[in-house]
Subunit: 188 residues, 2 copies
Amino acid sequence: MKVRDISLLGHALLGLLQQHPSSGYDLRKIFALTPVGSFSDSPGAIYPALHRLEEGGFIRGRLEETSGLRRRKMFRLTPAGVAALKKWLAKPVHRDEVVRSMDELMLRFAFMDVVIGEAASIQFLNTLERELKLYVPTLREYLGSQRANLPISGRLALESGIRGYEAQLQWAKSARAAYEQAGKGGTS
Amino acid sequence: MKVRDISLLGHALLGLLQQHPSSGYDLRKIFALTPVGSFSDSPGAIYPALHRLEEGGFIRGRLEETSGLRRRKMFRLTPAGVAALKKWLAKPVHRDEVVRSMDELMLRFAFMDVVIGEAASIQFLNTLERELKLYVPTLREYLGSQRANLPISGRLALESGIRGYEAQLQWAKSARAAYEQAGKGGTS
DNA sequence: CGATACATGTAAGAAGTTACATGATTGT
DNA sequence: ACAATCATGTAACTTCTTACATGTATCG
């Protein structure tokens, strides 16, 4: 049970297992059938990742005996797993992640409010918004300065990226509004 | 010089080398300083990738002697490299790529018109548009059916994904318009 | 009784990350 | 002289992909 880093897939598994204790097969189906990130549902990715998490002491699997079904190993988080999940979710949004791994940021957000609270989610949205407001203009500047040097498709591809970030920015605003709205009538 | 598959990074390098013959260091700087995909600029990724491409016969490096500078190995595409690049760019847009690797699709698009022509780019945009028009409603349906089961942040994260795809769809339309506009006055 | 879905795994290989290593050239 | 930048590389490690392997339960 030595200290191990947890991969992105590992963190996704922690997040899902926090929602429901599940078997490897359950998790594979989630990746195969629902739009949770873009993880492979191949057994060669998921079972080894679960074993690493278990070896690291973050989850614990036990064989289900209750029903007369096939043997299924149900995994659930240990306290160390909950702590690792919280640590991942609580990481401040860094500029670099906005540029290079928006996917991971959105995955974190998807698990966030349940695990570390709405206040953290709102804080996350604020930081994301701030970083996007800083980043988009630098992309626009680059596009402006290179307009003459780029082939049409290169320019358009860059446009596409910029529009994607702008959509994220709009989304962040509306998501924050949704929390404020819910906050008025919601529980706590 | 045996047959090798080319990784995404490898294809990106082929695309960039087709624009200008470059050294490994040049390419690293492109990844470090410009918004071309989200590739690492680490030497441990780029130099081995260049060596694999060279070993596969797709590029050819030669030491620069002309100027009194440090030794730089300048790489350029071989005919096999051009063929491999064209093959990658000409692949039809598959549904699965829209779902799991939009990044790669946009990278391909960025190199496309110069290497295989505007007609191919327009065709690409049409197919992309069609696939997005099919995919977005399935995401909306999923969101509708799961609305009650998802935590707020889960629902919002899914919203973010949907908005991203919608932005892509809008972009594809405007990009097509840009080609049609350019076509009227442009060369050929 | 054969096909399909359930359920878990391993082995080989490819490719990326991090960190280290080396050396030339330029600027101060 | 010394630091910074230019320029290329390797080694160890981690993780993912692809393909194979195994066996059970259910359905028609």
